[in-house]
Structures are given as structure tokens and as C-alpha cells.
């Protein structure tokens, strides 16, 4: 059988003799799973609206430490990334760059391990975590072609003041597959803020396949902000798998603006009482971008709560897809779940496909979802124009107003600011907004 997925698998080194290594065993399983597959097709329900035709046509190299695919920009310095009150870690083409990252990674209460060796640490019981969803094509591919992985552990009772910022840069002139793995372990009563930022050179041809595993221990709080602003030639497949224990809260933002094809799957299990998650998302599409979000929130036990808000803005002939699923298990009583998907179509050729789903097996629940598709309000536009604001500014202002509902709750001023700038540009208008 020969297809582009199998072509990638053929580039892998053969199975290692050392079978005691659990990671090798896991890889053997993963290989067995996908050795007769192709990329998912649109006939599969979860890929109904997203065609992977582009992936099927390309022949990808697997990223390695030597950047055999080449680099577009050779020189970065640590100063390019420095920001106040932030710890930053830089990855280029899938590999950790210690020279460019903060040098004080081992701080009080936090343990950050970029595992440059492919074998991860036994202590963290990574085997169980890495096993998750191994039957999915992209998760299996992730294990098989893993570049660097990163483990972040926050100690018990610690609140980390500094924002942990992970910067993943694509710099490849050739089609290059980068598989990344981020594991975040929040111990009891801890709190942290993490930003995952994916960006790339204008000419980057990368295919990022990243899996983030979040494990929130009792009463911990995690703010997880995912920002994807890769260039227009890239493919981005991301997965967040989160488990939220008793009393813990997960605040997740997924902002997707880049990539020719981008797909993010977010799967949250609320597994202890009083667990809470808030999933917010914002996606914007221009040109022929295709942006897909699939989220699943599983209320596994009673007294768990969730809020979800996704907003999409589609221009030109871009296409947005949102699938939000809320599952309430049998006997999980006293649940509240709210979900909203709002979408703005700005062009005749843009398209949105949204599907908010509820699957409920318990009766004492309050679940609601709403979905809307609309356009800019003509009367609001007229109001602004009549006050002397140019059409361009008025339009930008209204689009920003639509996006603000997702941007405004982000607790990181720098990130909020950069998003505002993206919508409003560096002009008087944005200053006006910021002052107000």
C-alpha cells in the first residue's frame, strides 16, 4: 500500500532490538495501528468538513536535529525572545534551542524538562500519558516521528508568577513534518500560566503535529493559551488532551489565525467533583485558509461545570469548521454546561460549518448551546461611518468588537495587546481602544 502517510512511515528507522524500552514498545504498537492506513478521509464523521487532500499530495521529510530540510533564517538571538516576567523556551523546526531560551528554567517550584533524548523520564509515568488516543492516526504518527518533547511539572502548593511561554518556530523551505509533545503536570493546589505559540517564517512549508497533555491535580488552576499564527503554507494539526481532577480549573484559549490548513482537537475530561473548564476560541480565516476546531468536554462525574465560547471570522474564500461536543455520563448529576458558537461571514465565498452537539445520559443537568451565523451589522456600520470613521476602520472596529468577547478575558496583557493590534493595526484607533 502506498500513500503519503506510508511514505513517511517508510522513512522511519526499523524497530529497535531493545524491547524492554516501553517507548519502543509503544512505537511498535503505533506502527501496527497505522501501517495499513491513510490520512483520515472526509467520509469519516470527524473529518467530514476537513479534507486532508493537501497532506496526501505532499511528500514530507521527518524533522531531525540536523535540520536536513534546511533553515530559512539562520540567526536568532536570545534577545529576540526576551519579555519581562516570562520564562521562554524556543523550539525551531521541532527541536529545543537551549541557547535561545531562558537560562533559569529550574526555578523554585517548577520543573521544566525539554527532553532532548527521545526516551522520556520513567518517573512521571509517561507511558500511560503517551498511550492516550494511540489509535488515532495523528497521535500514532506523533509518537512515531517525535522530535523533542517537553515536560512541565508544577510542584504542590506553588503559584508560578512568571508566564511560561513556549515558542515553536517553523523555518523549513522543504515540506517538513515536526511532531511535538508537551506534557504539563499540575500538582495539588498549584497554579500556572502557559502560552503555546506557533509561528513560522513566511516561506515555511512545515507540517506541525503536536499533542499537548494536561494533567490537573486536585484544586490546581491552569491558564493555557494556544496561539497559532503560522504562515500561509503550513499545515497544523494539534491536539490537547486534558484531565481535570477534583476542584481543579482549566482555562483554555485556542486562537488560530495562521496556517493553510489547521485543525485543533481539544478533549477535556472533568473527572472530579467541582472540576471546571472554560474553553474559549477565536479563529480567523483569509484567502483560502481552512481552520477547524473540534472540542469535546466530558462530564464524567457529578457537580462538574463547563463554559465554552468559540467565535469565528471568515473572509475571502476561507472556511471555518467548529464541532463542539458536550458529553454528560450516566449518573453524573448536577451538571451545568454552556456552549456558544458565533460566526461572522465577511465574504460571499467564505464558509462556516458548525455543529454544537450535546450527548446527555443523566437527567439533573442544565445544558444549553447556541450557534449563530451572521454578518456585520449594517446599521452599526452606518452609525460609525456617519461619525466620520472610515469604512476600513469601522469594519475593523466591528470585527474587533466581535472578537473581543474571547480576547477580553485573557489574563495576559501582552497577549491581549498583540491580538488587539492584529485586529486594529497600529493606528489611532487601537490607542483609543486601549486607553478606553
Amino acid at each position: 500500500m502506498s500513500n503519503s502517510l506510508q511514505a513517511i512511515l517508510q522513512k522511519l528507522p526499523g524497530p529497535k532490538a531493545d524491547t524492554d524500552d516501553w517507548l519502543e514498545r509503544l512505537r511498535a504498537d503505533a506502527l501496527k495501528t497505522i501501517s495499513s492506513r491513510d490520512y483520515p478521509s472526509t467520509k469519516e464523521e470527524s473529518w467530514k468538513y476537513t479534507s486532508l487532500h493537501a497532506l496526501k499530495k505532499s511528500d514530507y521529510l521527518i524533522a531531525d536535529e540536523h535540520n536536513s530540510g534546511g533553515l530559512l533564517k539562520k540567526i536568532y538571538s536570545r534577545n529576540d525572545f526576551l519579555e519581562a516576567d516570562k520564562l521562554h523556551l524556543v523550539f525551531i523546526n521541532g527541536f529545543f534551542q537551549p541557547d535561545l531560551s531562558s537560562d533559569e528554567l529550574l526555578q523554585n517550584g517548577i520543573n521544566i524538562r525539554p527532553t532532548t533524548t527521545k526516551k522520556a523520564d520513567e518517573k512521571y509515568n509517561l507511558e500511560t500519558i503517551l498511550k492516550t488516543d494511540l489509535t488515532e492516526t495523528f497521535s500514532a504518527l506523533n509518537i512515531l516521528t517525535l522530535c523533542d518533547s517537553l515536560l512541565i511539572e508544577v510542584e504542590k502548593n506553588r503559584i508560578i508568577d512568571k508566564v511560561i511561554k513556549l515558542i515553536f518556530i517553523g523555518e523549513s523551505p522543504e515540506p517538513l513534518l515536526k511532531s511535538l509533545r508537551i506534557i504539563v503536570k499540575m500538582n495539588e493546589n498549584s497554579e500556572a500560566r502557559i502560552v503555546e505559540e506557533y509561528r513560522s517564517h513566511d516561506k515555511d512549508m512545515g507540517f506541525t503535529n503536536v499533542v499537548t497533555n494536561l494533567r490537573l491535580g486536585q484544586n490546581s488552576t491552569l491558564y493555557h493559551h494556544r496561539l497559532q499564527i503560522e504562515s500561509m503554507n503550513t499545515t497544523h494539526i494539534g491536539k490537547i488532551d486534558a484531565q481535570v481532577d477534583t476542584g481543579a480549573s482549566l482555562y483554555s484559549d485556542s486562537i488560530a489565525m495562521g496556517g493553510k490548513l489547521s485543525r485543533v482537537d481539544i478533549d477535556v475530561s472533568l473527572s472530579g467533583r467541582s472540576a471546571y473548564c472554560r474553553l474559549n476560541g477565536l479563529f480567523t480565516g483569509i484567502n483560502d485558509q481552512h481552520i477547524d476546531h473540534h472540542t469535546t468536554i466530558r462530564h464524567l462525574v457529578g457537580d462538574t461545570h463547563s463554559d465554552e465560547l468559540y467565535r469565528g471570522i471568515l473572509d475571502d474564500n476561507s472556511r471555518g469548521v467548529f464541532n463542539g461536543k458536550v458529553v454528560v455520563s450516566a449518573d453524573a448529576q448536577k451538571i451545568s454546561a454552556r456552549q456558544a458558537s458565533n460566526n461572522l461571514l465577511l465574504s460571499k465565498l467564505a464558509e462556516i460549518d458548525t455543529k454544537p452537539e450535546l450527548e446527555i445520559y443523566a437527567d439533573d443537568v442544565t445544558c444549553a448551546h447556541g450557534a449563530t451565523v451572521g454578518q456585520l451589522d449594517e446599521t452599526a456600520l452606518f452609525y460609525l461611518r456617519s461619525r466620520g470613521i472610515s469604512y476600513k476602520d469601522a469594519r475593523a472596529l466591528l470585527i474587533y468588537a466581535f472578537a473581543e468577547k474571547v480576547i477580553e478575558p485573557i489574563p495576559l496583557p501582552a497577549l491581549r495587546q498583540s491580538l488587539e493590534n492584529k485586529f486594529l493595526g497600529h493606528n489611532q484607533m487601537s490607542e483609543f481602544i486601549q486607553q478606553g
Binding site: 454544537p356 443537568v365 445544558c367 444549553a368 451572521g374 454578518q375
Partner: protein
């Protein structure tokens, strides 16, 4: 409301009311499905060659198709070779012209069902086309309808008397290869109803068909075709009951509606087939394809359904809104109890400019049942200023019941406005307390709340149907509340 309560009290522990069996000699096709079966059916009905060809083509397509598995329902595999595809009362050769000629046993059946034909004729002014098993045996008010040019007859009669109309419209809304069950239906359909409303005619009465499945092991494959010519209007009622049976019966009907310029069809269904017993034994499989095509400008289709019966309900009455400013409406109450499963909803395909659709769906799940709303709203690129409003609410009665919502929204036009809301909850303690504190019994209170929950849909039903529907809800919920 107190009347309702009394009715419920009376019906405590009562088994399925329509569960009896009429012993009439039948002419069966031997169980099994092959070309021979199809030729047998076609010959038996003395069909023209073109229809036989059409059936055989559908059968070919059916053979190439795979049974769909995507619905949120579970059932043991169906053996299509076990089913007998044709059963007709013996009196097929010389059909009765008046009631006196009708087999008294048949009349007795209708009596038990509470459909006294005579009374209905006089009081309700409803023409009833009764399908007893597969062949239409009695049609009333034909003459009166003929005066204004309305054609309302069984499908086989239509094939004989109006072949040009049937040929023109058959399979144009639901093509044979549309899906697995429509292909099966197209190959083996036995009979059904045909309605044609001529130009600028308002049908003088509500048309009604009572389907009734009777014989053991015979799938019912009805075919309904309604054509509303320009500027016409018709309201069509469909209601069903079936006798108690321990083996699952498959019902795969196809309903096609064609609406031309400025015309309107209102299609109402009360479905109360045998749902199986408390353990989920028996019960009807109701896998139906219903679709309407708003071909002309300003045409309108309104589907209203009350689904309380069947072990499994799997149907999506849909509208293709092709004409400019055409309107599609879908009002549904789906109630599941015990181990019933329902996966139902609608599709609104907007193609015409200014097309407008409304979806109101109310799901009630009790016992250990599964109740799913599955819907699609698709706005095509050419549908300027299309508008959709969707509301689907689920009410859960019982901690083992389940309610699901799967709405698909696809929008390719920026001028469209789509709103979708859904909620799932149980009866709130506040509401119950309020009613209880006013001296209303628990059962009455719940009944009242459930009826209120469904009010938006019931008000769309013709009056006599609305009463029946309310009764049905009370009966179907029996034993599940409190």
C-alpha cells in the same frame, strides 16, 4: 387538565390499546427478496412495464448499498430475506364500492381503533384513505374531491388512472438511490397514497390516511406522493397504530412532496406504533425518508410530527427550499419511554434567495430511552438573505434516560442569518413546587408541564390531531413519572 389526569389514572398499567390482531386471510409473497419478489409484486398489482423497470433499477442500486450505521440507535441486524414483501387482503380482485361491501372484520378493526368511518364522514368531513396492510381498501369522499379536481387515491390506482402525473413526479424528490431504505422502498413498495391538487385550488377538506400494519412479518413499504400545483393548498394528516407483536417489524416508507409556485403543503403526523414492552421486546422499526421540494417561488412546506411510538424512530422530514422566498417549517415532539430509541430531526437545504426556515423540536426522554435530535441547516452560496431559526429543547424524565443533540450548520452565504439554540434540562423543582402548592397532584403537574413544553408544536396541529396528541403524550408517559 383534570380530564387528562383521569385518563391517566384509568390507563395505569394498561397495555398497548391498539394491540389486537384481526384474523383475515392474506395473500403473501413468500419471505425473501430477489428479482422474482419484485416481479411478483408488480404483477400482482398489474403495473405497467415502466414501473417494473423502475423497481428493478432501484433493486440493483439497493444491492450495491450498505446498511447505514450512523444513527444513534442500536438494534439487532435485520435479515431482509426473512421479510415477506407483499401482503394484501384477499378481496383485492373485486374492491368494495361502499362501506356495506367492506369486510365486516375490517370495519370491526377500525371500530376498536376508534375510527368510526361513518361518524368521521359526517362529523369531521375528513376523507379517509385506509391502508390495511398494503392495499388500499376503502376511499371516501372521492366524489366531493373530484368536483374541485383534487386527486386523492391509493398509489396503485394513481398508477392506473394518472400514469403521466406519477411518472412525472415519482422519485424526483427522493431518488431511489438516495439512501439504503429509500432504495429498498422503491424496489418493493406495495401501496400508499397519491394526492394531486390542481392549480389555484384550496383542498376543501383535510386529507387523512390511517396506516395500519396487521400481518405478521410483513414489512410495510408505503409510498406517498403529494403534488401541489401552482397556488394550491392542502393539509394532509397521517396517523398510525399497529397491533401488538413480539417480532420487530420494519417500516421503511418514502414520502415525497412537490410544491410549485405559491403553493403550500401542510403535512401532519401522529405516530403511535407499537413501541415494544418495558424490556424493549417487540416494537416497530420506523426508518422513513420524508422530503419535500419547494420548487416554486413563495412555496411552503410545513411538517408537524408527534412521535410517541415505535421501538426505533429514524426519520428526518426535510425541505429543499429551491424557490425564491420559499418557506420550510418543522415542528416536532418526540417522546421516548422505556427502551425506545429516537433519532429524528430535519434538514433544511436553502438554495433560493430569501428562503426561510423554522425548526422547533421538543424531545422528551423518559425511562431508559434514547432521544436524539439530528438536524442539518445548509445555506447554499446562492441563497441570499436566507434565514433560519432553530430551537431544540430536551426534557429528561428519569435519571436513566438520555437526550442528544446533533445539529449540523453549514453556511456558504454571508447574508444568511442562522440562529440555533438548544437546551436540555429536567422539570425544575420550582415549577413543580409552584403547581403542587396549588393543590395539583404530582402527576397532573408533570403532565401540565410536559404539555406546556410541547405547546408550540401542538398549536401547529389540526384541532382533532392536537387533542389526540395530548392524550397520546399522557398515555405514553404512563408509569414513567412520579
Amino acid at each position: 387538565m383534570s380530564t387528562n389526569a383521569k385518563e391517566i389514572d384509568q390507563l395505569v398499567n394498561q397495555t398497548y390499546e391498539a394491540g389486537f390482531y384481526t384474523d383475515i386471510e392474506q395473500e403473501f409473497a413468500p419471505p425473501g427478496l430477489n428479482e422474482g419478489t419484485i416481479r411478483f409484486i408488480s404483477k400482482k398489482k398489474a403495473e405497467p412495464e415502466w414501473l417494473l423497470e423502475w423497481r428493478l433499477k432501484a433493486y440493483k442500486q439497493f444491492q450495491e448499498m450498505i446498511e447505514p450505521k450512523w444513527a444513534h440507535v442500536e438494534y439487532p441486524p435485520i435479515d431482509f430475506q426473512e421479510i415477506s414483501y407483499y401482503a394484501a387482503p384477499k378481496s383485492d380482485e373485486d374492491r368494495p364500492k361502499s362501506l356495506d361491501e367492506v369486510d365486516p372484520k375490517l370495519l370491526e378493526t377500525y371500530e376498536k381503533l376508534g375510527i368510526p368511518l361513518e361518524e368521521q364522514k359526517v362529523l369531521a368531513g375528513v376523507a379517509v384513505d385506509i391502508v390495511f396492510d398494503s392495499v388500499s381498501v376503502h376511499t371516501t369522499f372521492r366524489e366531493k374531491l373530484a368536483e374541485v379536481g383534487v386527486i386523492f387515491c391509493s398509489f396503485s390506482e394513481a398508477v392506473k388512472d394518472h400514469p403521466e402525473l406519477v411518472r412525472k413526479y415519482l422519485g424526483t424528490v427522493v431518488p431511489a438511490r438516495d439512501n439504503f431504505y429509500s432504495a429498498l422502498n422503491s424496489a418493493v413498495f406495495s401501496d400508499g397514497s397519491f394526492v394531486y391538487i390542481p392549480k389555484n385550488t384550496r383542498c376543501p377538506m383535510e386529507l387523512s390516511t390511517y396506516f395500519r400494519m396487521n400481518a405478521m412479518n410483513t414489512g410495510q413499504f408505503e409510498r406517498t406522493l403529494i403534488v401541489a400545483d401552482e397556488g394550491s393548498y392542502v393539509s394532509y394528516l397521517e396517523g398510525c397504530t399497529a397491533p401488538m407483536r413480539d417480532e420487530n417489524q420494519l417500516h421503511a416508507a418514502v414520502v415525497e412532496l412537490v410544491v410549485l409556485k405559491d403553493a403550500e403543503i401542510k403535512y401532519s403526523t401522529v405516530q403511535n406504533w407499537y413501541p415494544g414492552d418495558e424490556e424493549g421486546k417487540g416494537g416497530i422499526y420506523n426508518f422513513v425518508t420524508k422530503r419535500g421540494d419547494c420548487r416554486g417561488d413563495r412555496s411552503k412546506i410545513s411538517w408537524t410530527q408527534v412521535e410517541t411510538g415505535s421501538a426505533i424512530t429514524w426519520k428526518y422530514p426535510s425541505c429543499i427550499l429551491r424557490g425564491e422566498n420559499s418557506i420550510g417549517e418543522f415542528y416536532s415532539v418526540a417522546l421516548t419511554n422505556n427502551l425506545q430509541q429516537a433519532d429524528t430531526g430535519t434538514k433544511m437545504i436553502h438554495l433560493g434567495k430569501g428562503s426561510n426556515s423554522t425548526i422547533i423540536s421538543k424531545g422528551i426522554s423518559a425511562g431508559r430511552s434514547q432521544n436524539a435530535y439530528r438536524g442539518l441547516v445548509r445555506i447554499g452560496g446562492s441563497a441570499e438573505n436566507a434565514r433560519n431559526y432553530t430551537q431544540c429543547d430536551s426534557l429528561l424524565l428519569g435519571d436513566k434516560s438520555a437526550a442528544h443533540t446533533f445539529p449540523y450548520i453549514e453556511c456558504k452565504n454571508p447574508s444568511a442569518q442562522i440562529e440555533h439554540e438548544a437546551s436540555t434540562s429536567k422539570i425544575s423543582d420550582d415549577q413543580l413546587f409552584y403547581l403542587r402548592s396549588r393543590g395539583i397532584s404530582q402527576e397532573d403537574a408533570i403532565n401540565m408541564i410536559v404539555n406546556g413544553f410541547c405547546k408550540e408544536v401542538f398549536k401547529e396541529l389540526p384541532m382533532e390531531f392536537a387533542v389526540e396528541a395530548q392524550k397520546l403524550l399522557g398515555i405514553s408517559l404512563e408509569g414513567s413519572i412520579g
